[in-house]
């Protein structure tokens, strides 16, 4: 009962802050609403007994990625950003895609069960089991993900490198 109320609170704030993230004109405000969003997603993870995921969600997304966003966004000229157009000429396409995704989400929600009753996100909560799973059962996807990250890293270095010709 109390879990459901807490879940509904988290869900409501997640939806609300997600909407505010894309509708705010000031990009810094958008990033801060996204921070709120990440926090509440971490809260949902805790509700699902995935404490490790919640902590990692905060450390990686809120503590590392979003701070870099904020770093870039703070350098923008807020006045100009606030007066710029909200959409470009592709907006009908974007709306169409959005509707398709929305319909998909609707379908999934209608078919699924309430998340708190649908079982835990992992039936093993300890990081030991998680680590063993990652390095045995899911070794290939895990390694592929790290290679993708490495590619991103190399790409960034290549872009930043001075061209001496």
């Amino acid at each position: 009962m109390i879990n459901q109320i807490v879940f509904l609170y988290f869900a409501a704030v997640i939806v609300l802050s997600a909407v505010l993230t894309i509708t705010r004109r000031n990009p810094v405000h958008s990033v801060l609403f996204m921070l709120l969003l990440f926090f509440h997603i971490a809260g949902v993870f805790v509700l699902l007994n995935a404490e490790f995921l919640a902590a990692v969600q905060l450390i990686v997304y809120a503590g590392a990625i979003l701070i870099l966003y904020l770093f870039v966004v703070m350098l923008l000229n807020v006045d100009r950003e606030s007066k710029s157009d909200r959409a470009n000429r592709f907006w009908p396409w974007i709306v169409a895609f959005g509707l398709v995704i929305f319909a998909e989400i609707g379908l999934l929600v209608a078919r699924g069960s309430f998340p708190l009753e649908g079982g835990q996100i992992m039936n093993k909560t300890g990081i030991k089991e998680l680590g063993i799973d990652l390095y045995t059962k899911y070794l290939v996807p895990f390694e592929i993900a790290s290679v993708i990250l490495l590619v991103g890293l190399v790409g960034a270095v290549m872009l930043a490198k001075k061209k001496n010709d």
Binding site: N26, L35, F52, L58, I59, A64, I67, L68, M74
Partner: protein
């Protein structure tokens, strides 16, 4: 009354520890300020605050009253919401970190078991790291929202510094986690019952120094106080803050120092375990064993607090001793020195753990 039967255990397991924790934090946030001023004064051949109360003991109260009654100015061009939210984020994150810190194993008072922690999280250490990393937002938001060049520069410096030093810090923590085999802070302390991790040669002392340096950098203290370098940036990110909001920044700074000192004591110096003059496992000599027994009779909380205030003193000592780094030096220390060393430490620890030497 069946209701009381349900509520009462929570009072003992949650209510009393929470109240104790909050009063501990508030008392420290006030009196560490006095301790800093006094110690700095002695080191510089002065006496420090003497006028308010006997021996200046009421100085924190006077400061608090002054903070509360000063006019709270929000600059006209500032972003009001972000400006007022920034100190709160910093403070809430600092408070949040304390929740997972255990101050000792549980104690028996009048036949009731009272734990000395509010929440013994399984991922305790990660949780504290995550709170610290989110706390950075407070600093950046304050710098940006003030709409002031110096504040913005301070915010930027702080963001860059905190991101850079979080990495060696996380690796030093991971080294400890590898040694203890758990993310739970109580388990980490219990794993040190034979030998403190600072003595775990060769990686223990290295990880300790790494964590201490990055911890000082994370809290923006001398010699890493670039975000608030007064000779270059007025007061850095909180230049525009006044009144109680300024006070909140101050409190958050002391609370973050407390968390770092507590974590160093817990992770490397055996937390609430007593000092052993001559470790028991090296063999027992009559007199030494006796002294060890005597030292072990002192309650664990007192040992933890002794270690904690030792590190707080160290912080202040650094402030009185060291000059500030130049900005490029600051970055170079983190990326070119601390990060490679911490990676190496982690590798060696993993190898030693597998070989069974730790």
């Amino acid at each position: 009354m069946p209701d009381m039967q349900i509520i009462l255990p929570y009072v003992f397991s949650l209510g009393i520890p929470a109240v104790l924790l909050v009063s501990f934090i508030m008392l420290n946030a006030m009196y560490l300020q006095l301790m800093e001023r006094k110690v700095l004064a002695w080191m510089q051949n002065r006496v420090g605050p003497m006028r308010t109360g006997p021996w200046g003991l009421l100085q924190p109260v006077a400061d608090a009253v002054k903070f509360i009654f000063k006019e709270d100015i929000i600059p006209a061009k500032a972003d009001k919401w972000v400006f007022s939210a920034a100190p709160l984020i910093l403070l809430v994150m600092a408070f949040g970190g304390f929740v997972a810190i255990p101050f000792g194993s549980s104690v028996q008072v009048f036949g009731k078991t009272i734990p000395l922690w509010v929440s013994d999280l399984n991922v305790g250490i990660l949780y504290i790291l995550s709170m610290a990393s989110v706390g950075t937002y407070g600093v950046i938001m304050a710098g940006w929202a003030s709409n002031n060049k110096y504040s913005l520069m301070g915010g930027f410096r702080s963001a860059a510094q905190m991101i850079s030093y979080e990495i060696p810090m996380a690796f030093a923590v991971l080294t400890v986690v590898l040694m203890a085999g758990s993310l739970n802070l109580s388990d980490i302390v219990n794993a040190q019952s034979k030998q403190w991790f600072i003595y775990a040669l060769p990686v223990g002392p290295v990880a300790f120094v790494l964590y201490l340096i990055s911890g000082i950098a994370e809290t923006n203290r001398v010699p890493f106080d670039l975000p608030e370098a007064e000779s270059e940036l007025v007061a850095g990110y909180f230049t525009e803050y006044s009144g109680i909001r300024f006070g909140l920044f101050f409190m958050a700074e002391y609370m973050n120092m407390l968390i770092v000192s507590l974590l160093v004591s817990i992770m490397f110096l055996g937390g609430w375990l007593p000092v052993q003059l001559f470790p028991d496992w090296l063999g027992s000599v009559g007199l030494v064993t006796g002294i060890n027994r005597l030292l072990a009779m002192i309650p664990g909380v007192i040992w933890l607090l002794l270690k904690l205030y030792g590190f707080m003193f160290f912080y202040i000592w650094l402030r009185a001793t060291l000059p500030r780094y130049r900005y490029d030096q600051l970055m170079a220390v983190s990326w070119k020195f601390l990060l490679p060393v911490s990676l190496g430490t982690l590798l060696v620890t993993a190898f030693m753990k597998q070989a069974g030497w730790l």
